[in-house]
């Protein structure tokens, strides 16, 4: 009998926990599938960016990119445009930046990217980037 009472109680706790957790996360991070985002990264980003810490290619390492201040990857020579951009790479900022041509998002940037218009792929990609730290 006691056991039977505990089951609905635990279910309620779990439901509330899930709700609170979801409310505290970025909606973009929640929407994306990080596993699918890994494939998007390989297709869209991996030629110019590595996810290894300290490994810069034509573009800077994306290790720990979510939450990082713009223009601060070690040993990478940024454009003046990005050095002067005083933003933080939040999931919202990444979503906005990557959904349009890089030259439009940050005029003067070295980055050559036409933007990712598929919102599902963009969400997946940002979710994946959120796991790289």
């Amino acid at each position: 009998m006691t056991k039977l009472l505990w089951v609905p109680f635990l279910r309620c706790v779990a439901a509330v926990g899930l709700y609170l957790g979801a409310a505290s996360m970025s909606p973009f991070a929640l929407a994306g599938d990080a596993s699918a985002g890994s494939d998007v990264f390989k297709t869209e980003c991996s030629e110019c960016h590595s996810v290894k810490e300290g490994r810069n290619k034509k573009g800077p390492s994306l290790f720990g990119i979510v939450g990082r201040n713009a223009g601060t990857a070690p040993n990478y020579k940024y454009s003046d445009a990005l050095l002067q951009a005083k933003w933080v790479w939040t999931t919202d900022k990444l979503h906005s930046y990557l959904s349009q041509p890089a030259k439009q998002a940050n005029p003067g940037t070295k980055m050559k990217y036409d933007g990712l218009t598929d919102s599902k792929q963009l969400d997946d990609l940002i979710s994946y980037l959120g796991t790289i730290h």
């Binding site: 390989k42 030629e47 590595s50 290619k57 040993n75 020579k77």
Partner: protein
């Protein structure tokens, strides 16, 4: 008469060994790297970013852009020494002849950027002649000046100049025979085919101006001249392969390329025209190569990559002289054509394991005087390579060096117009069939 027959058969026997050597060279060429770890160090990229199989030769669209940008792209992190080394060891098993296991090639690459606008590729190649005697020659050269990130109207454009020594080596799509170092071998062949006898590859010098418009449209125009024989000799080349004196040479290339990230395709045309005196003191032949090429790549998420290409080149010839005819009342043709076709299909798994199949066909118009004894030069061959390149990827032990172990089968089904008795020797003399030119090799290549 019998003495003359014996002498002819001796000459043909020598030609057998010559073609065995050509087959061996093709085996090496098919497994040799064309990119260098020097570029990986310069850019921070892994080898696999530019080459699906992490060791070349076929370029990914990203590799094509790196080439178009004059080898100047960089990670911006200081000067990198633009030098790399390649060593190749080969266990060769020819259908006829002795098995050998040797260090077959040692190369030094001077390759990289000088500035944002100037970069290049130079390969200095040392080959084993089979008797452990090594000779060094200046192999492919491609020096570039490039103006990047230009605007033409509202579209992006790139313009450049390439000074190089093999027409087609500098090509952006890099599927032309001088780029892949793979063209149909045979007793004759087109100017654009490095496997042709007296080929232009590495024995000419020229300049082409090229442009890329809106990332898709590629055009190139230029001219070449053959190097003086003394210069060829100084650069390590035997005079027996002199391509002759070239004049009025024009090169043209146009291609549409579409990079869809997960897929890529291109379609293009190429032309090369020249007057060639071979021998240099003789009359000139008018030669015009006109070809088309199509390529397709499925790249996806890089785990399963398929690359296919077809290159079809037709050479029209107007001969400046007629060779003496051994047949009373029959003279050589004053005009002729040679047709080279190469189809290549490569599958690469995890950018590490690969299988490449090439089908190479060379045909020509009938001319019983020029193409003895059967009157046609037709040759058909196939190349199959299975390889493993464990490094050179973002997640591998090293991204900037690589090893390639390859097993290659080279198979002739027809040579010099026949599958049997290809040199047409008389009764009682040793016969050479097309499959006697077959060869198998195991190759270990190391680049760092």
């Amino acid at each position: 008469m019998s003495h003359s027959l014996n002498r002819r058969s001796m000459r043909r026997t020598h030609r057998v060994y010559l073609w065995l050597a050509v087959a061996a060279l093709l085996l090496f060429a098919s497994t040799s790297v064309q990119a260098t770890p020097a570029y990986a160090r310069q850019t921070g990229n892994a080898c696999a970013d530019c080459h699906a199989g992490a060791y070349g030769p076929a370029l990914t669209p990203y590799g094509m852009r790196f080439k178009l940008n004059g080898y100047t792209d960089t990670d911006g992190n200081g000067f990198k020494i633009p030098v790399a080394v390649q060593l190749i060891g080969t266990h060769s098993v020819p259908a006829r002849g002795q098995n050998t296991t040797q260090l077959t090639e040692a190369d030094i690459y001077v390759a990289g950027r000088i500035s944002d606008n100037i970069g290049g590729y130079v390969k200095i190649e040392t080959d084993n002649d089979g008797q452990d005697h090594f000779s060094t020659k200046l192999s492919n050269v491609d020096l570039r000046f490039v103006a990047k990130d230009l605007k033409l109207g509202s579209k992006e454009a790139t313009f450049g100049v390439s000074v190089n020594n093999s027409p087609g080596f500098e090509d952006a799509v890099s599927d032309l025979p001088d780029s892949t170092l793979l063209g149909p071998p045979g007793v004759t062949g087109t100017l654009l085919n490095p496997s042709s006898p007296d080929a232009l590859a590495n024995r000419v010098v020229g300049a082409t101006a090229y442009g890329l418009y809106d990332s898709d449209w590629y055009g190139e125009i230029g001219s070449y001249t053959s190097l003086p024989q003394s210069t060829q000799s100084n650069l390590g080349y035997a005079l027996s392969g002199d391509p002759g004196r070239l004049s009025d040479t024009g090169f043209f290339r146009f291609a549409y390329m579409k990079d869809l990230k997960k897929q890529f395709f291109s379609a293009g045309i190429v032309a090369l025209t020249a007057k060639r005196q071979l021998p240099r003191s003789g009359p000139a032949d008018d030669l015009t190569d006109l070809g088309y090429d199509v390529t397709y790549q499925y790249i996806g998420n890089r785990e399963n990559i398929v690359q296919a290409s077809f290159v079809d080149i037709l050479e029209q010839r107007r001969y400046g002289s007629l060779p003496p005819s051994p047949f009373p009342g029959i003279t050589a043709q004053t005009h002729g054509a040679v047709h080279d076709r190469t189809f290549t299909l490569t599958y690469t798994f995890l950018q590490t394991y690969g299988l490449t199949f090439s089908h190479l066909v060379s045909t020509g118009t009938r001319d019983i005087v020029r193409y003895q004894p059967y009157g046609v030069p037709d040759t058909t061959s196939n190349l199959l390579t299975l390889y493993w390149a464990p490094f050179g990827k973002d997640d591998s032990f090293t991204t900037i060096a690589n090893l390639k172990l390859a097993a290659t089968w080279f198979h002739f089904s027809r040579f010099n117009g026949s599958s049997t008795n290809i040199f047409g020797v008389g009764p009682g003399l040793p016969v050479t069939n097309a499959h006697d030119l077959n060869a198998f090799s195991l190759t270990a290549s190391l680049a760092f």
